[in-house]
Symmetry: C2
Subunit: 193 residues, 2 copies
Amino acid sequence: MKLLEDRILKDGNILGDNILKVDSFLTHQVDFKLMTEIGKVFAKTFESLGITKVVTIEASGIAPALYVAQELDVPMIFAKKHKNITMTEGILTAEVYSFTKQVTSTVSIASKFLSQNDKVLIIDDFLANGQAAKGLIDIINQAGASVEGVGIVIEKSFQDGRSLLENSGVKVTSLARIKNFENGSLNFLEADA
Amino acid sequence: MKLLEDRILKDGNILGDNILKVDSFLTHQVDFKLMTEIGKVFAKTFESLGITKVVTIEASGIAPALYVAQELDVPMIFAKKHKNITMTEGILTAEVYSFTKQVTSTVSIASKFLSQNDKVLIIDDFLANGQAAKGLIDIINQAGASVEGVGIVIEKSFQDGRSLLENSGVKVTSLARIKNFENGSLNFLEADA
């Protein structure tokens, strides 16, 4: 997605060897116009699959997932990373290790929102090691629902998340694929959409 | 907002004496159509104030805040509740105690996203004790920006959050105001919009 790649080059900040900050338009401050375009591209990619639910994980996945859900005209569910006293019964969970935050979280979705008839599209802001998406796939499988695809805004293609997901039989569509970081800049692989 | 009140009565679940779960359309599964309408109502309420930024707090505030930002055609910023290794410099923080989650969090916004020229609208899903909104006001004031108003989707009017905010000089607009819970149901006060 050229609009996204251009925005990453313009407004992204590279920290150290392999951290890309996109906090001015995706992960902290959010540009709804870009989210709208992202929603359209993902919806076009997945529109033939009969998606019934879009699932993401709090918090940075919510904005792109919401606009994908809007374009596909289905509900969006965001998995919770933290326990809440109002979530008491019927919870599906998976353990997810975040390399960025260096903690293991119990990710959860209320079972009442997923059924075996659901065809689920997973949307997330970043794919690196694939642990978050893997946890969501685990939860969706527990519900007996099918995962029809994974849509990623920014993929760190030099990490093994994509192959982890593809090896489990899930199709991955990434709008920007970072091949590597080099001298404070970055190179892209050809994106999937 | 009658559409919202009707939805709360139809799909909300009351737990115990004072907990309302709206996880089927706002806090876990999200109905983008309702969010779109909520965005329109808040935008109409605040459109004359020259709002330059919408600020909320992760995670359940993101969806309504995003649609308000869309209607006002400004960026949305979601404050972070959790430390992240990519947030390193220039952070404005406030301590916020959550009665629901029973923990104190350090809420933060990168200072580069707020300036003294900003006129900020705070949007949040719930107002109960007002601690989250108070923390956001504190952060926005640290940046020298002005808080032009607080927009709340669901207010628990029997708790003291609204008076806390109004006593600090901030105008509060709530789309649904819960007067009390009674025999497993609830009563509304007249909403602000």
